[in-house]
Amino acid sequence: MVRKTLLSQRKFETILNRLACQLIEKHKDFNNTILIGLQPRGIFLLNRLISILEESHNIKNISHGKLDVTFFRDDFRRSETILSPKSTQMEVVVENKSVVLIDDVLYTGRSIRAALTALDSFGRPNEVELLVLIDRRFSRHLPIQPDYLGAQIDAIHGDRVRVEWNKNGIENIIYIEEK
């Protein structure tokens, strides 16, 4: 299996800072906004963005939640692997709020569709946006596009695109595993 690094550490940081700034442009002080990270890997991006917003832009107390979409996926009983859930922590009311769904890689769009359905269980938001770090172009199964985008990449079907997060933020890498 060939492993190819797609984004350098420096570029990675620049992208995260840009995404944080784009969120501020639209959501100002985040009073009416809830950031929701999708389990499992969207949580890392959510946490990094919140810490950038807090430390570099002094925006405190941003409402956020962690959403697991396993029970809302459309491939239950359709694959060999069993779908194992992760925890959901949604101690926020999304009714009449602006919600930003956050995930690391956007591929077929099916997880996002599941997330939109899952979100219904917590109220009716005013609007829902999508923020992703990596968009795998030309691979969508559904008409879903990101509103905030880190980088776009081309990868063929079957390749795996993975974002690896380091707690200290030193060795974040994005790589592609070719079949």
Partner: protein, 316 residues
């Protein structure tokens, strides 16, 4: 490595499960407990699964709990009760069930008065079977929710002391509880009149006492069982009043032990017989937690078993 699938294709009894299976069910139930506390308590996972609840014996909470669990998972549900069915016209069990399965049912939830009926049905039909109580044999979903409720309050059950008091002889809850608590490493003491204990029960690795106060002093939690008068016409003790005085849990005995223990009851409660109202409604009782956890546990069981049923390859 932690398994992500059950080792069994049916839930016939705790006897057939491994410790891994229990932890997988508990972990999945925790996620479902979060789901059933949402404003909208339903998930679409099982929208293409049909479940038949076949109850050949009376039931209130188990039936409602299974039905609610199935509906919270978006499964299609059909219900069958013994009264008013064709069983009274002479149809046998396998024929009845095969007729129901012919209506494209994926999972059968079966309660039946004969011990071993769930195993028998699972061997004779081509569908997943969940035992919701087979006579005096096993009631696995109840044992799972009891153990889950205990773990919620006490943490790891390894070395914890659990007492089971009452009609062990006729109770499927007792047997399933013994199996599950042993598997989780708890110590078990039974407390009942000797006439209400099965022969050779000590071979299951449990101890026995006929003194309720001493048993209560020994344990961290006590599971109070109901006297199952409907299962027998024989008298196993001289009078209900005497049973209640010796084996019923009341304030006087509870205050004597001078320690906080958890009180469980699988329901239905005969207030004033095996437990008095003040204790059944006290803070030590986790009876209503058991009922809430029952739905989450049953959702987990159904979800995990359903995930092992492969989709038919439709030829569109």
């Amino acid at each position: 490595m932690k398994s992500d699938k059950l080792s069994v294709d049916h839930l016939l009894g705790i006897k057939y499960l491994r410790e891994d299976d229990l932890h997988l069910i508990f972990e999945t139930a925790t996620h479902f407990k979060e789901v059933i506390n949402r404003p909208i308590k339903k998930v679409p996972s099982l929208r293409d699964v049909t479940i038949a609840n076949l109850f050949f014996e009376n039931s209130t909470r188990t039936k409602l709990s299974f039905e609610l669990a199935e509906k919270r998972l978006s499964a299609d549900v059909i219900n069958f009760s013994y009264s008013g069915s064709s069983i009274s016209k002479g149809e046998n069990l396998i024929d009845t069930i095969n007729n129901i399965i012919a209506m494209k049912v994926d999972i059968i939830v079966l309660r039946h008065p004969s011990p071993g009926s769930a195993l028998f049905v699972s061997k004779n039909i081509n569908s997943c079977v969940i035992n919701a109580g087979d006579g005096t044999h096993e009631h696995p979903s109840q044992a799972l929710l009891d153990a889950y409720s205990l773990i919620e309050k006490l943490g790891n059950l390894k070395g914890k002391r659990i007492a089971i008091v009452g009609d062990v002889l006729h109770s499927r809850v007792a047997l399933s509880n013994i199996f599950i608590l042993k598997l989780l490493g708890a110590e078990i003491k039974l407390c009942a009149p000797k006439s209400l204990l099965p022969k050779h029960i000590e071979s299951l690795g449990v101890s026995y006492s006929d003194n309720l106060t001493q048993t209560l002093k020994w344990c961290d939690a006590v599971n109070m069982l109901r006297i199952q008068n409907e299962r027998t016409e024989l008298n196993f003790f001289p009078s209900t009043r005497e049973y209640s005085r010796l084996y019923g849990l009341d304030k006087e005995k509870f205050e004597k032990i001078k320690k906080d223990i958890l009180i469980l009851h699988p329901g239905p409660i005969n207030r004033g017989v095996e437990i008095t109202s003040d204790l059944a409604d006290s803070e030590n009782a986790i009876i209503l937690d058991q009922v809430e956890n029952g739905v989450a546990i049953r959702m987990a069981i159904i979800y995990l078993l359903a995930s092992k049923i492969k989709m038919i390859d439709y030829d569109y």
